[in-house]
């Protein structure tokens, strides 16, 4: 069963689309084709939140709305979803509670970032974000005028009962029935010399992959859609995995967290709160909400950036990838992944062994800006200690070489040493010999080298409660959750 078009809704209006427009970005489509210019395009690279819209997707039979950057969403990724723009929030001349609160709190000056903030505040309402988590939920959105405080005050000023959920403004029945009736069909659209496949099953995706080895695989597209990389815009054949339900599972099986390849980092973060509390705050700092809402587990691993924050924890936890081909499944350590491994198939799942009793996981990230920034250096440590000695200490670092790396010689050096500051200081020398930091726009080689060395001490101090004043601990360290 195949469809030659996509089906989605914008502000309650049904849109069935085929032809070359399906390759366009949602932000441009809204502005140029639908006359909905409230959605502003500023950076066009997912770095400012100005083009945020709400994307409602089926989850447990209902539409769940999350904020996404419309500049990173190609229309073919929207099949089966309901997009609500800033124009769709005020209905029949009545402003939403969020809009009223923004007015009451003087939450805008020039107004260019405002629609994005209204959308992010609405998403926070939809998800029941607590007052404490409100700033984090707005951290994808940049404002250059207000200093943010009035916007936070607006968010805090929304009374729970004043907010009317989107499910009331847009009764989901017709949409969910429509989506349900079309969800099992594979989508294939050829237009303007390009083809996009958006299959409904992993099996079909693997067939497409075999038939079109050159296909650009699109998952969340948070990297692919960023200019000037033109992969997404120049690829003749695209294979979009976003419709495959089986790829988005996240569940715990014994001591293992099983992550579907297409699980978003938002899903992982939610699961981590229960199953791996050290990981959750790290994931919140890893990426801002609009990116976590679409970026996927496999996308991050396959992209394999030298500063991928996902990789240090997966490296020290010795996570395993499941690669699924036609009739075959094989496992490989995440650490050993290289793109050539995808020749015969696709990443289907990632198995993450959770820290066991007696193991201590610590994660650190240093970035130029505290929120919503790529790493300069990030680090993961997994310790097993006993009798005051380090039995094993696994160490992984990003940002200090061409790829994220484990540090086997440093680990070997530390094995059996007393769990004392001096031992970690002494390990700075072998660590320095193992890394090869370079200078770039985010930091000099010297800075990165110092950070990498100091990560050993950060780790040590995160263990020793007496060495840290309660205030000092809260300043930056993600260790606070331990």
């Amino acid at each position: 069963m195949t469809r030659d078009h996509i089906l989605f809704y914008i502000n309650g209006q049904r849109i069935q689309l085929a032809g070359p427009l399906v390759f366009r970005r949602l932000s441009e489509f809204l502005r140029d084709e639908r006359r909905l210019p409230g959605t502003k395009i500023v950076c066009a690279e997912g770095a400012c939140g100005s083009c945020s819209v709400l994307k409602g997707e089926m989850q447990d039979g209902a539409l769940r709305y999350r904020a996404v950057n419309s500049c990173l969403q190609s229309l073919f990724q929207l099949d089966g979803s309901h997009v609500v723009t800033v124009e769709g929030l005020a209905q029949g001349g009545t402003f939403s509670a969020v809009q009223d609160a923004m007015i009451a709190a003087h939450g805008a000056q020039c107004g260019y970032c405002t629609p994005g903030f209204v959308v992010a505040l609405t998403a926070a309402q939809e998800q029941g974000v607590t007052a404490e988590d409100l700033p984090e939920s707005l951290s994808d959105n940049l404002c250059r005028c207000t200093g943010y405080l009035p916007i936070l005050e607006a968010g805090r000023g929304i009374k729970g009962d004043a907010y009317r959920p989107l499910a009331q403004s847009y009764p989901p029945g017709v949409m969910t029935a429509d989506f349900g009736a079309h969800r099992n069909a594979d989508v294939e659209i050829a237009a303007g010399g390009r083809t996009v496949f958006a299959p409904a099953t992993l099996e079909r995706a693997i067939q497409v992959k075999r038939a079109h080895p050159e296909a650009v695989i699109v998952s969340g597209a948070t990297e692919l859609a960023v200019p000037p990389s033109a992969t997404l815009d120049d690829g003749r054949v695209l294979l979009s995995l976003g419709r495959i339900a089986e790829l988005s599972e996240v569940r715990r099986d014994g001591d293992t967290l099983i992550l579907g390849a297409g699980a978003t980092w938002t899903q992982v973060e939610t699961a981590a709160r229960t199953h791996c509390p050290e990981l959750a705050p790290f994931l919140r700092r890893f990426a801002a909400p609009q990116l976590r809402n679409v970026g996927t587990v496999a996308g991050s691993i396959v992209h394999g950036s030298a500063i991928a924050d996902s990789l240090p924890p997966l490296f020290v936890l010795e996570a395993t990838l499941e690669l699924t081909g036609a009739g075959s499944r094989r496992l490989a350590p995440v650490r050993e992944f290289s793109p050539s491994a995808l020749a015969g198939g696709l990443v289907s799942r990632v198995f993450v062994p959770l820290p066991r009793l007696g193991q201590t996981l610590r994660l650190f990230k240093v970035s130029g800006r505290r929120g919503f920034d790529r790493s300069v250096v990030s680090a993961a440590f997994l310790l097993e200690a006993g009798g005051g000695r380090i039995q094993t200490l696994r160490v992984a670092l990003s940002g200090v070489g061409p790829r994220v790396m484990r540090l086997p010689r440093t680990e070997e050096f530390l094995q059996g040493l007393p769990l004392e500051e001096d031992a970690l200081c002494a390990a700075q020398e072998p660590l320095r010999a193992e890394i090869a930091p370079v200078s770039d726009g985010r930091g000099s080689a010297e800075y990165r080298g110092l950070l990498a060395e100091n990560m050993l001490l950060k780790f040590f101090h995160s263990l020793d409660a007496h060495s840290l004043d309660a205030h000092g601990q809260s300043a930056h360290g993600l260790e606070g959750s331990a």
Partner: protein, 772 residues
């Protein structure tokens, strides 16, 4: 009766903003036949153009025009002060991203394709990309600028203590969210109407006329609103406007030139990076006797506003402090980078950063508390109230009082102790606490710019339109003007609309800049409204005298305008709705429109500034000694802004200005390669503060009961000064580092994590508890 002035009315565009219905330039639907305009830019910072090959690009379907400097009708050169900016590179290229070829096409795709197919032959020349290299090469823009008083050399020789230092101060990308842009519409007889995102409609009118060889009367420039500007659209909005105008002029078709953000960041100028070399003499009590300082700014490729910016630096080195003997010099370095330009503070922040740094260094050298050093140096009464440039700081007690009051409410002394105790205890973190002041001079230092005109039209139903040269960029100017005019006419603010800026309505206007938008345009609007009110008062006096059977005495005193009604004070029960009065006045052929003019009074050689806006901020920071990361934990601000026209809008300016300044002194680091390539680019590569950078405790207050009677509604300007208060965050970082460093910490600005960690690496004592 409560008027509109003093009320926290919402920004007049706020409702439109929150529902996405406010129209910005990019939201204007294209007209039929409208062309897209972009440029092919220089890939190198400096070089001689030996060839431009357009043949391949010409063949791209949909390309309507390709223009080089040779195609510019009258002059390729323009500029606010010197006229050394140019529309298109000619002979050589002066910075990476300098436009060389203008491309006009039917679609953005055609323009993009043509851009790829244009070939330049440029023989590269060695670019100057740093202040160091410019000084070594003697590459400067304009003459040295100076401010001197007394005998600084002699006083330094005699000084009890002398401290020398050098400070590198980074620039700042404006990052207004709406990038530069303009749309030009051709009219009859060579006329052009240009819609631009600009702080300076008049300048666009001027330069378009000049470059195209038109009379200024043939060009209209309109600005409805800007999606942020911060100084970046004072002069540099002219380039995209010229591009669109040239294409419209050549083709007779509408032309749209909107920069993408990434291009905007690479092509346009920023806040000037500075170097300061200083020598300061002071007593054992930390009282300054002399300051000698040499400032070097990186002006970039052309003059732009750099001389005015340097002047403001030299006028703000004193900040809140009396400096008996001064010798200040300023040189503008010419480099091969995009020409640096106005940015909120306009050179003031760099001057203030230097003197506030000096305060910290004196304190650290003498082992005194920096707060105490600042207090001892603060402007006071009598001889201690005169600035190095001869202007008296009135009410010399205001600054020390503000200082003391903030120290009290923010509990400086007790927190000083907790910080020291924390630092003695913590092995991994170190805290700092610092208070800085601001005394920001309000007025354009180019005196002729301190003028404005306003047009007020009352319609027959009593509603009012106001037009000025003051452009709305989010700062709330329109709302404040609305409030002022509403009160002058005694009508409700909803009955007043402030209209888009257009050179057709308001001629020869200054840029909306220097924090003076409301002062100048609001004053002119009040004068115009007052003239209409006087006319209506005379008319109403006759009308009501007849009805009430009372004689006409003094209409101005006798007739009241309030809450949308007009009445004779002697018989207030008979009220005429303002709309009815307007209607009847019109029938009696009374003029219901007025254009009026305002110029700031009293400015002169020893008084460059009409008045000063004052404030203070106390910042507390916490630094992670292992990573260099810094968190701003608490900020307390107190400002004297006179009597606020709109407290909510002024609070917004204060918060926004402070956070923008915090970005400048912390995370916003501009980086260039040696070849002049911008590395801190695009938005993901340049870190303005996010919501998570806000101090968890952020107290802001205005001095209550403050007045500024010479200015409109006794208010003070508020746009720029709060930005300078964020220097307290930087000095707090320096203060924190002094607890754990050997000697005075050598810290440049911005204090990024990298800057701090490297400072700790060079000078820091091993982690293990501060003993300071």
């Amino acid at each position: 009766m409560a008027g509109a002035v003093g009320q926290s009315l919402p920004h007049d565009s706020l409702r439109g903003h929150v529902i996405g219905r406010s129209v910005f330039l990019a939201d204007v639907p294209p007209v039929q036949g409208e062309l897209t305009v972009d440029t092919a830019c220089s890939p190198v910072a400096h070089g001689a153009i030996t060839g431009i090959d357009l043949e391949d690009a010409r063949r791209v379907p949909g390309i309507v025009g390709l223009y080089t400097a040779a195609d510019v009708p009258r002059t390729n050169y323009f500029g606010p002060i010197v006229g050394d900016d140019r529309l298109l590179a000619e002979g050589d290229v002066l910075y990476q991203g300098e436009p060389v070829v203008l491309i006009a096409g039917e679609t953005p795709e055609a323009v993009r394709e043509a851009r790829k197919r244009i070939r330049f032959e440029i023989s590269p020349l060695t670019p100057i990309t740093t202040i160091d290299a410019a000084i070594a090469a003697g590459s400067f823009l304009g003459p040295q600028r100076e401010v001197r008083r007394g005998d600084a050399e002699g006083a330094l020789r005699d000084a009890e203590n002398v401290l020398q230092g050098r400070m590198e101060i980074g620039g700042q990308e404006h990052l207004y969210l709406e990038s530069q842009g303009a749309i030009a519409y051709p009219g009859e007889d060579g006329q052009l109407v240009i819609h631009a995102s600009t702080q300076n409609t008049t300048e666009i009118q001027d330069v378009v006329a000049e470059v195209l060889g038109l009379g200024q009367h043939q060009v209209v420039c309109i600005c409805k609103r800007m999606g942020g500007a911060f100084g970046g659209k004072e002069t540099q909005a002219a380039l995209p406007a010229l591009m669109a105008a040239l294409v419209a002029h050549k083709t007779g078709r509408a032309a749209r030139c909107l920069y993408g953000k990434a291009d905007d960041m690479r092509r346009t100028g920023k806040r000037h990076p500075y170097r300061a070399e200083y020598e300061v003499g002071f007593t054992g009590e930390g009282v300054i006797s002399a300051l000698k300082a040499a400032f070097y700014s990186d002006g970039g490729a052309t003059t732009d506003l750099s001389p005015g910016i340097m002047d403001r630096t030299l006028f703000h080195v004193d900040n809140a402090y009396f400096l008996p003997h001064v010798a200040l010099t300023g040189r503008i370095c010419r480099t091969h980078l995009p020409s640096n330009t106005a940015f909120r503070g306009f050179g003031g922040p760099q001057g203030v950063a230097v003197v506030e740094n000096i305060m910290e260094e004196i304190a650290q050298t003498l082992g005194l508390d920096a707060f105490e050093v600042r207090r001892r140096n603060c402007y006071g009464a009598g001889a201690r109230s005169v600035t190095p440039y001869g202007q008296t700081v009135p009410d010399g007690g205001a600054l020390p009082a503000l200082f003391q009051r903030l120290a009290g409410t923010a509990e400086y002394l007790s927190r000083r102790e907790s910080v020291a105790a924390f630092n003695a205890r913590s092995r991994t973190h170190v805290r700092g606490l610092s208070m800085t002041l601001v005394k920001f001079g309000i007025s354009f230092t180019s005196t002729f710019l301190n003028q404005a005109n306003a047009l007020v039209n009352v319609y027959k139903d009593g509603t009012v339109q106001v037009s000025t040269g003051g452009a709305e960029m989010g700062q709330g100017l329109n709302t404040k003007i609305k409030q002022l005019v509403a009160d002058e006419l005694g009508v409700l603010p909803d009955g007043v609309r402030v209209m888009p800026v257009s050179t057709e309505k308001n001629n020869n206007t200054p840029p909306t800049a220097a924090s003076a938008g409301t002062d100048l345009n609001g004053s002119a609007a009040v004068l115009a409204a007052a003239a209409i009110r006087r006319r209506l008062a005379r008319f109403a006096a006759d009308l009501l005298a007849q009805e009430n059977g009372l004689p006409v005495q003094d209409p101005a005193a006798q007739i009241a305008f309030a809450e949308g009604c007009v009445y004779d004070r002697r018989a207030p029960e008979r009220q005429i709705p303002f709309g009815e009065l307007a209607h009847r006045a019109h029938r009696e052929r009374i003029d219901l429109g007025e254009r009026n003019f305002y110029k700031t009074p009293g400015l002169g050689k020893d008084r460059p500034f009409f008045y000063y806006t004052l404030g203070g901020a106390l910042a507390e920071v916490c630094i992670d000694r292992l990573t260099g990361e810094m968190a701003v934990e608490r900020v307390d601000i107190l400002m004297d802004i006179g009597r606020s026209i709109n407290p909510a809008i002024d609070r917004g300016q204060l918060l926004g200005g402070f956070v923008q300044g915090m970005g400048w002194v912390t995370t916003e680091k501009l980086k260039y390669g040696e070849d002049g390539t911008l590395l801190s680019w695009p938005v993901s590569g340049y870190k303005i503060p996010s919501v998570l950078d806000l101090p968890p405790v952020f107290n802001v207050a205005f001095v209550e009961g403050a007045e500024n009677p010479e200015n409109v509604a006794s208010s003070k300007a508020v746009g720029e000064p709060p930005l300078l208060l964020a220097i307290s965050v930087w000095t707090a970082a320096k203060n924190a580092l002094s607890f754990v460093c050997d000697g005075v910490p050598r810290l440049n600005l911005p204090a990024t994590g990298e800057e701090i960690l490297l400072c700790l690496h060079r000078q820091g004592r091993k982690t293990g508890g501060g003993d300071a």
